[in-house]
């Protein structure tokens, strides 16, 4: 403390500059509060779901079918099987098409050509199209109209596949773009064709990124109710679907239907169904994060 009387040295001045004035402390606190508010909101939502849902979070939920007469032991088995069937179809439709489109745009297409630019712009736009519009599209072409399969499992799969297709394309492209140019060059220099290079070198190198993006896209589809309301998942279904041409319901639509049903047992069943859906989603999200951290390669 011998320096107090002396004029501050350059070092001391720099240290003093670091000291925060009250206004910027308030600013930093406000920013922190914004983030805290978002996190607290999420925690309240999750805590509410657990607190209200765990009473009925038992085997009845999985074993039994929906019932208005016995809400205290009713389950959502048809919705669980419906979700599995619909998601299976969605995976089979969206993954090959989405990954194929991404490979074309990233590995084959000349991005200076106008038609390729058009495809890119179009995909950017499709990502932000409201989910319910995909329901209208499927209603007009698949449920009724040219194909007219009716309100069955495959219609739900098509609606959700259309919904997540742009997301799958965009995340797959990002994963492919992360693979260094040199790997492709080396493979081509050794005489491999473009497809051999893509199939044996680029795709294996990008597979964890593709898997992460795909799981996140599927977790969006599994919780989506809006387009499925339009393609017939609202019906009160108490049998499990046996094929892609059977009538169906899914978990989010089951939740939507149960909201308007009265009674304390119904409400408990509703929150238990929500808890089940959230558990599935958190498991999928956790798997995506684990995949990203475990297999992410840095070149």
């Amino acid at each position: 403390m011998t320096m107090t009387a002396a004029p501050p040295t350059p070092t001391a001045r720099l240290t003093r500059g670091k000291r925060t004035d009250p206004r910027s402390a308030v600013f930093a606190a406000a920013l922190w509060l914004c983030l805290a508010a978002a996190c607290v909101f999420l925690l309240i939502v999750l805590a509410t779901i657990v607190a209200k849902g765990w009473h009925r979070f038992d085997l009845d939920l999985v074993d039994n079918q929906p019932s208005r007469l016995r809400p205290e032991t009713a389950g959502v088995q048809s919705a669980i099987f419906g979700t599995l069937w619909v998601m299976g179809g969605t995976i089979l439709l969206a993954l090959p098409l989405g990954i194929g489109a991404a490979i074309y745009l990233e590995e084959y297409a000349d991005s200076t050509k106008w038609w390729n630019k058009l495809i890119e712009l179009n995909i950017q736009n499709l990502v932000a199209v409201p989910a319910i519009i995909y329901g209208i599209l499927t209603l007009a072409f698949v449920v009724r109209g040219p194909i007219s399969v009716g309100a069955v499992v495959i219609a739900g799969s098509v609606a959700l596949a259309l919904l997540i297709l742009p997301v799958v394309i965009i995340t797959t492209r990002e994963a492919l773009r992360a693979v260094p140019r040199e790997i492709r060059d080396a493979s081509l220099a050794l005489g491999a064709t473009q497809w051999q290079t893509t199939w044996r070198q680029v795709l294996p190198a990008a597979v964890s990124g593709i898997a992460t993006g795909t799981i996140l896209a599927l977790s969006r589809a599994i919780g989506e109710a809006a387009p499925l309301i339009l393609v017939g998942a609202t019906v009160f279904v108490t049998v499990n679907p046996d094929g892609v041409l059977d009538r169906y319901t899914v978990l989010p639509v089951q939740i939507y239907r149960q909201v308007s049903l009265p009674g304390i047992e119904m409400e408990q069943l509703l929150w238990a169904t929500i808890l089940l859906l959230i558990v599935i989603l958190l498991l999928m999200n956790g798997m995506a994060i684990w995949l990203r951290n475990r297999f992410q390669r840095r070149w």
Partner: protein, 324 residues
């Protein structure tokens, strides 16, 4: 294929005759498989264009029937919407003014933005300029979960948890636009935050260092240097948030009720465009009925609105990408 060495016969049908030079680099081998694969891949990319065309066709075809019974002027300027009432097969006993639905969408969207923009931007600034990398690595997945909770769950949460609280605080009706608007706002925070953070992280650190060198502190640097430099990206994030709010269906279908009302008052329930589509779809409207056609008319309006919003967002993102 038990023979060890590669013979001419084991190569594909398109391989050159063995009489020529061993490897001929001058001619391209005609690989049919490669070309088929390329066509298949291009086909799956073109499918995305087909989807857009399909959306346009699906929405526009029923419009001819709708607008042969309802005037375009009445649809776009009328202040009463009673499509769900009266005789199911009659066009004439209903009011077809879409403005109440548009106003319902507008009020929930504005409320959602009042929540999402300040909180989202605050979060983005904190993550981009203040948080240490370790903190960021923990918090970003948490925000992803906030965006990943199904909207139908948020709808139930709004109706059964938030609405009773608001009833005590400000006396809202059971179905109102304030509660779904607020919940939707929290749902959109990650959308606004994540894109704004990208925009601010893309600002070169040389700009920040220049600002610090001139003696400004972190707050001044953030507000006067980083924020303006990232502005077009931030606006694009907000615009994308608007598009999410306009298109959101389940939260408003559950918590805002099914009454189309020509009002901006958030304390009462006013059905939104998406809410109407969901209501008609759950009621199993008979094909060919006026209500069935009105579903497509409202859907087309919704699509056009989001298309314009998206175009603005895409243009802004391009602008900020070219900035540095």
């Amino acid at each position: 294929m038990t023979t060890g060495p590669v013979t001419a016969g084991s190569l594909g049908a398109g391989s050159p005759p063995p009489a020529g030079p061993p490897i001929d680099l001058s001619t391209r081998r005609n690989r049919v498989g490669e070309r088929i694969i390329k066509v298949l891949l291009a086909g799956s990319a073109l499918l995305s264009v087909a989807i857009t065309v399909g959306i346009a066709v699906a929405l526009l075809t029923p419009l001819t029937t709708f607008f042969s019974n309802v005037g375009l002027g009445e649809f776009l300027t009328g202040t009463s919407w009673t499509a769900g009432f009266g005789d199911k097969s009659s066009w004439t006993d209903k009011d077809w003014g879409v403005l109440p639905l548009v106003l319902g969408t507008l009020s929930t969207t504005v409320i959602a933005l009042l929540v999402a923009v300040p909180f989202g931007l605050g979060t983005a600034i904190y993550l981009s300029e203040y948080a240490r990398p370790k903190v960021r690595k923990v918090l970003k997945p948490l925000l992803e979960i906030l965006a990943g909770v199904p909207t139908v769950v948020y709808g139930v949460f709004a109706l059964t948890i938030i609405t009773p609280i608001l009833q005590d605080l400000v006396g809202v009706e059971i179905f109102n636009n304030l509660s779904p608007g607020v919940v939707m706002g929290f749902m959109i925070i990650p959308t606004v935050a994540s894109l704004s953070e990208d925009a601010m992280s893309a600002v070169p650190s040389a700009l920040r260092e220049g600002s610090y060198a001139l003696g400004s502190n972190r707050m001044q640097t953030t507000l006067r240097v980083v924020f303006p430099a990232a502005l077009s990206g931030i606006v694009a994030a907000i615009v994308l948030g608007i598009s999410r709010a306009v298109g959101e269906t389940m939260i408003v279908a559950i918590a805002a009720g099914n009454q189309p009302q020509f009002t901006f008052n958030p304390l009462v329930g006013a059905q939104t465009m998406t809410g109407f589509i969901a209501q008609v779809a759950s009621g199993d409207a008979p094909q060919g009925s006026p209500v069935y056609y009105s579903l497509f008319a409202v859907g087309a309006l919704l699509f056009v609105i989001t298309l314009v919003i998206n175009a603005i967002s895409i243009a802004l993102v391009r602008k900020f990408r070219q900035a540095y």
